[in-house]
């Protein structure tokens, strides 16, 4: 299958699954949300005690195992790492701060838009602004440094964690938390979530679909390839929402959303900038982590930790809005992100073509 068809097909299938998972049991406009699912996993593990969002979402284990197996099969599994792991952990943490202020990762933002939730438009504006800002730093020479090959055991860590999460959600030991009400209590049978997640993991690994990358490439290199995926995801989700009767156009009373436009904008600005600095959106980080990229694996753990902090300290948004401390946390997160971006702009870029144009170019 050619690249263009594959990316369009991936977007379409994921868009449709995003709606189908709601029909099969997930909460409204909550068919797929990487940030929310990671937050639910943090809750299921008892890392935060927000009782309505605790469930070890098998979709995430599906993302990891689907991507891991297909990468292995296609010869693309390679253990690597060492590109500023601690900074990536922090950026992962920060991206989740922004996402849980907006209430969704970039993928859920597109699904929310496709269900008529106009609050997501403010989020999209912030996301694009964040991507622009990220591109500014990329053009200045932002880099988190080179990765190196590692022993293969490093690449197996994330898939093993996924299997452990699956065992825990299936066996239901007493120390694992399960929401009794709220979005965390709404889900399809484990096997359905797992299969849907695995299909998504497989497709994203093959097509390289990325919500941040789509807009980034459009602006940075005028290449619409990845954006076709975002577009087909939106279209199929829209068709699905109309078909299932979930489409509801407006700002007010949208499912698991608030209508504080400013914080929807700032939250997604943080996600956009952070995703560009990391080289991909939260879903893409999970997929890369599953292909053996231990830096992306550490980013996943950063996101898990960030989600735990956001709910442990009452910083995350809710349909009532963004708590004041959550607003302060978001501003601090943005400042930290900017500091990281400025600090990692590589010197050595010169406008004179007679010398090396960047540290990676040799004459």
């Amino acid at each position: 299958m050619n690249e263009k068809r594959l990316i369009a097909l991936s977007g379409a299938v994921i868009g449709f699954l995003g709606v189908l998972l709601v029909y099969l049991g997930n909460a409204a406009n909550y068919g797929i949300c990487v940030a929310c699912f990671i937050r639910d996993i943090a809750g299921g593990l008892g890392l935060h005690r927000a009782e309505v969002v605790q469930y070890l979402r098998p979709e995430v284990a599906g993302f990891i195992l689907g991507a891991f197996l297909i990468a292995l099969f296609m010869g693309e599994f390679r253990a690597r790492g060492g590109s500023s792991p601690l900074i990536r952990f922090i950026i992962g943490f920060i991206v989740i701060v922004g996402a849980l202020v907006f209430l969704g990762c970039p993928l859920r933002m597109v699904l929310r838009l496709a269900a008529g939730d106009l609050n997501a438009l403010l989020g999209l504006a912030g996301f694009i602004a964040g991507i622009y800002l990220g591109i500014f730093f990329l053009r200045k020479g932002f880099s988190l440094g080179r990765y190196h090959n590692l022993s293969s055991s490093n690449g197996y860590v994330l898939p093993v964690l996924a299997v452990i999460l699956l065992i825990l959600v299936a066996v239901k030991p007493a120390f694992i938390f399960f929401s009794e009400s709220g979005p965390g209590s709404m889900y399809p049978p484990i096997v359905v979530s797992l299969i849907a997640g695995a299909i998504i993991g497989l497709l994203v690994q093959r097509s390289r679909l990325c919500m941040a990358g789509g807009i980034r490439d459009l602006i940075l290199i005028k290449d619409p390839h990845l954006f076709y995926g975002t577009l087909s995801l939106f279209v199929l989700a829209l068709v699905g929402n109309l078909a299932f009767g979930y489409f509801d156009l407006g700002f007010v009373d949208q499912p698991i959303a608030h209508n504080d436009g400013l914080w929807n904008f700032i939250g997604m600005l943080v996600v956009g900038l952070g995703s560009i600095l990391l080289g991909g959106c939260p879903l893409r980080q999970i997929i890369m982590g599953s292909e053996g990229d231990s830096d992306a694996g550490i980013t996943f753990l950063g996101m898990l930790t960030g989600a735990a902090f956001m709910h442990n300290f009452g910083l995350a948004a809710s349909p009532d809005g963004v708590p004041q401390n959550g607003q302060i946390a978001t501003v601090l997160a943005l400042i930290a992100l900017l500091a990281i971006a400025f600090k990692n702009v590589e010197v050595g870029i010169t406008s004179k073509p007679s010398k090396s144009v960047a540290s990676g170019i040799k004459k």
Binding site: E3, E76, R78, R80, S83, L138, R139, S143, L144, R146, Y147, H148, R208, G213, R216, D217, L220, I221, K222, D223, H225, G279, G280, D295, P353, V357, A358, G360, I361, K362, K363
Partner: protein, 75 residues
């Protein structure tokens, strides 16, 4: 290779996307009409650079060896 004045090399091994694309683009803009050789070690970077170069009307020749890719980009 070092003695060839008309060939520039971008070593983007170990660089995560989109850095290899950004570096290649900078090299193409800076060294017009010269052959650019890009060394990378990721299939994703190979796909992205190939697409970018083709979109801009360049010819691209890909060689794979021991998990690394050498891309030769010419006008």
């Amino acid at each position: 290779m070092s003695g060839d004045k008309d060939k520039k090399t971008v070593d983007a091994r170990g660089k995560s996307c989109p850095e290899p694309v950004v570096l290649t683009r900078k090299a193409l803009e800076s060294f017009k009409d010269q052959e650019i050789e890009v060394i990378i070690d990721s299939p994703v970077a190979k796909e992205n650079i190939t697409r970018m170069a083709k979109n801009q009307g360049y010819k691209i020749d890909v060689e794979e060896k021991d998990g690394e890719f050498c891309l030769k980009i010419t006008k």
